[in-house]
Symmetry: C2
């Protein structure tokens, strides 16, 4: 079916039918921005997201946060730094930092477009149906 066998998979990040953006992408965007502002580890990022969106009624799951972070490492946008958690217990946590600022910026630009498009869809639905 694919005429050029060597054409392979660019742009995985896509909604085949083009409906609203996916939660995973949404979370990746937030993980980047939050990491730009402050070094945090997974559990903190989860708590922060939940408290931020509590009023709106959105409560992301723990796994989805970790999956977003792992994705961003695969994309070479974030990198990890293992750290001994200060305090009594010797526990290891994983702090994230930006690995490639340009790649991060590019991803954000793409997500901006996705968010704008999603907003258009919702606004149109509100106009058409109410």
């Amino acid at each position: 079916m694919n005429r050029l066998g060597g054409m392979m998979n660019m742009q995985k990040e896509r909604n085949s039918t083009g409906f609203l953006l996916k939660q995973r992408a949404f979370l990746k965007l937030y993980m980047i921005t939050m990491t730009e502002q402050k070094r945090l580890y997974g559990e903190q990022l989860l708590d922060l997201m939940r408290s931020e969106f509590k009023a709106i009624g959105y409560k992301p799951s723990r796994s989805e946060i970790y999956r977003a972070l792992h994705d961003l490492m695969d994309d070479n946008i974030l990198k990890r730094e293992k750290v001994k958690k200060e305090g009594a217990k010797l526990q290891e946590i994983i702090l994230y930092k930006i690995a490639d600022a340009d790649a991060a910026a590019l991803y954000k630009i793409q997500l901006k477009a996705e968010l704008d498009r999603s907003q258009l869809i919702i606004k149109k639905a509100l106009k058409d149906n109410f």
Copy 2:
């Protein structure tokens, strides 16, 4: 786990984590509104949706349209009417009409809330990340 065994499943229509509304619900809303305005059959509803959203880049699949329609019949919001398609071929099509206007109105109210909430999520993301 469930203290009251007889409590059973009210409110199926829900996003467990409360992210954006699902495509199915979005299409059900449109199917109701379009049917209020004009009696149409499945394939026409599909074409209409696709042309309406072509500019935005959203192209719903045929099956998802039919699933939305079937759902609405299960909900007793729409009902069907088999009709011989006028023109040469004797072909049967299925026109939809509102079965219960109150139920339709109620569903729309609920979807309005879902759309508003989704819009809040997207607006917040635009504000927080850009």
